[in-house]
């Protein structure tokens, strides 16, 4: 096992990783920007290194700064959390070149699965069900138009190097394709320095279901069931749930097996997520692989009892998985609600400010992952995630009631700070959600009703 792990992230996920490291007796170093110097992860770390200014490009996205910090503190491994450098094959290679273990899959696997076009090619090879679309990046607007016409509108244009729902444009009308193509290329260049864009069939009313997999460096791969992440705003998840409601266990099992087989074929190591969309007929289509810990991993932990960060560390250290597929029997229902500092009434605009009062929920089967406390300043430099409130219950009805109860307990007050708690509670009571008939368009449907 590692002696010292450097955590190259911030917010709740830095704290999350730190917690497990501490429990495993592993020394922690937290690399942080100037604005995060008083964060709980920094305060609790065995050591901390200030690696740059608030701007992520000069701190959390700066490989040189992170490697220097790791070397200064004798860290033998780096945990990248999610976002930032967590899915950068270049960073994975740099770590390797410096003799530091990056906790995640090998650089080659990230390179292959992280790029959306090569992931599509890989998925085709691994016989994962794919959405109709181009076999590679569009070779120009007329190639894109040909593909779009072939698969049928609506289509989505996606940056090949993209992720996190950015540089993605849905096109319903052939007349809009040319403009959308140009805009997406421009955005892709600006965001990822890579103009490649590809065309894929777009599903209007889809469910987003993902499979959590776990693999060791000895070829053993297994899955921990699936999560439904259909409640999204601006293509970012708001509420996640496991097991996916109203989805036959056989479908979950089928997706699990597909994902495990593909992960084994890819030489995957560590924790990863295979994402799928399900159309209204229940047909599954692979969309992408996330080569990292997922924001919503706590709900999988709650139904399986498995600490995913612990398994990440063990796998990265070369240890064999200590359980088999047959040992994993997810129990009950877990739901995570992401509490953001944002204003749903103004298009979910982030609301930075100073948190003056913060009282998290507690009690039975309630888990809180947060870096917030009285005195926390929410800055515009980073994403507005304030807290993840996760609950477990034996049944979905009880889990929904529990999530609503927990959200009702949460107190976040401070000048300028606004949260989406009331909106989350609206989702929980929405009939489509209650009856598990919702798709990724739920939030839009809710926002477009004049009642709100």
């Amino acid at each position: 096992m590692f002696t010292t792990v450097l955590i190259a992230n911030r917010g709740e996920i830095a704290l999350r990783v730190l917690r497990t490291c501490r429990e495993m007796g592993v020394r922690t170093v937290v690399a942080h920007s100037t604005v995060d110097r008083d964060s709980p992860a920094v305060r609790q770390a065995d050591e901390s290194v200030q690696i740059g200014p608030a701007s992520p490009r000069r701190s959390y996205l700066n490989p040189a700064a992170i490697i220097a910090a790791a070397q200064q503190t004798g860290a033998d491994a780096i945990h990248p959390g999610y976002g930032f450098l967590s899915e950068s094959p270049e960073f994975a290679e740099i770590c390797q070149a410096h003799g530091i273990t990056l906790i995640g899959p090998p650089a080659g696997v990230i390179a292959r699965l992280g790029d959306k076009v090569s992931a599509r090619a890989f998925a085709a090879e691994a016989r994962l069900p794919l959405l109709p679309g181009g076999t590679g990046p569009a070779e120009g607007v007329s190639d894109a138009a040909r593909t779009a016409a072939a698969v049928g509108y609506p289509v989505v244009l996606k940056a090949s190097a993209g992720g996190g729902g950015r540089a993605m444009t849905v096109v319903h009308d052939p007349g809009d394709l040319a403009r959308a193509y140009a805009a997406t290329r421009q955005e892709a260049t600006a965001l990822f320095g890579d103009p490649r864009v590809y065309v894929e069939k777009y599903l209007d009313a889809a469910r987003h279901v993902e499979v959590q997999i776990l693999a060791d460096a000895h070829g053993e791969v297994l899955h921990l069931g699936a999560r439904d992440c259909s409640v999204q705003r601006r293509r970012q998840k708001l509420i996640e749930e496991t097991a996916p409601p109203n989805l036959p266990a056989a479908t979950v099992e089928h997706l699990g097996e597909l994902s495990v087989r593909a992960a084994r074929a890819a030489g995957y190591v560590g924790a990863g997520t295979f994402e799928y969309v399900l159309d209204e007929h229940g047909a599954c289509h692979f969309i992408e692989v996330n080569c990292r810990l997922q924001v919503e991993h706590p709900i999988t932990e709650m139904v399986t009892g498995i600490d995913l960060v612990r398994e990440q560390l063990l796998a990265a250290a070369g240890q064999r998985l200590s359980f088999r597929q047959a040992d994993i029997t997810p129990t009950g229902v877990a739901i995570e609600c992401r509490v953001n500092a944002e204003d749903p009434a103004r298009g979910f605009l982030p609301t930075p400010g100073l948190v003056e009062e913060f009282v998290p929920p507690g009690g039975p089967f309630t888990r809180v992952d947060t870096h917030a406390a009285a005195g926390t300043r929410i800055t515009a430099d980073y994403d507005p995630l304030l807290a993840k409130i996760s609950v477990w219950a034996p049944t979905r009805a009880q889990a929904l009631a529990r999530a609503d109860r927990a959200l009702g307990e949460l107190v976040v007050r401070g000048q300028g700070v606004c949260t989406n708690v009331a909106f989350l509670r609206e989702v929980l009571t929405h009939p489509l959600f209650r009856y598990a008939k919702h798709t990724t368009s739920l939030v839009e449907q809710m926002m477009s009703t004049p009642m709100h």
């Binding site: 100037t34 200030q50 490989p63 220097a68 740099i94």
Partner: protein, 171 residues
């Protein structure tokens, strides 16, 4: 399936009800109706009227970018852009990045600056190595070196003080 059907029937009933009675509810409150929320399985209805006019809670709020306050030195306004901070009569040259600080170009070579040296704005005063790359540290202001704060060959964090200058205009 029967429960399904029942559920749908129920939903339809509830919707019907809301439609039929909204007008009635609307005229019941003195203030205009603001919101009706219905959620079922098995039923919760929430009817809200607008709050009476009056000063609304301040929404605008200030947008605080509150970034990157360097260590506070008495009286020194925070300066987030430069690797320089002033304290009393001296100005600190701080690390522009995390890495290993070297006072000379290579082992054995003479240091870029010594205490007492006069440096010009933009003059290299040291080097920081990160990932085998040597990054020059330059003085932002002209001045006389009054103290070497960071030792040669030691790891420094971002914005850690490296050396102190007495600015020229302070003479």
């Amino acid at each position: 399936m029967t429960p399904e059907t029942t559920g749908e029937d129920e939903r339809e009933q509830v919707l019907d009800w809301v439609v039929r009675h909204t007008a009635l509810l609307g005229s019941a409150g003195q203030a205009p109706l603001r919101r009706i929320t219905v959620s079922t399985a098995t039923l919760a209805i929430d009817v809200q009227w607008s709050p009476p006019p009056g000063p609304a809670p301040g929404v605008g709020g200030q947008h605080d970018t509150g970034h990157a306050h360097p260590l506070e030195f008495a009286g020194a306004p925070p300066d987030t852009t430069a690797g320089t901070r002033s304290t009393g009569g001296t100005v600190l040259v701080t690390a522009p990045m995390v890495g290993t600080f070297y006072r000379a170009r290579e082992p054995g070579a003479p240091p870029f600056v010594q205490v007492g040296d006069l440096v010009e704005a933009g003059q290299q005063v040291g080097v920081i190595e990160a990932m085998k790359l040597m990054n020059a540290v330059q003085a932002e202001h002209a001045g006389r070196v009054s103290e070497i704060v960071a030792e040669d060959g030691t790891p420094v964090q971002y914005e850690e003080p490296l050396l102190a200058l007495v600015p020229c205009d302070a003479h």
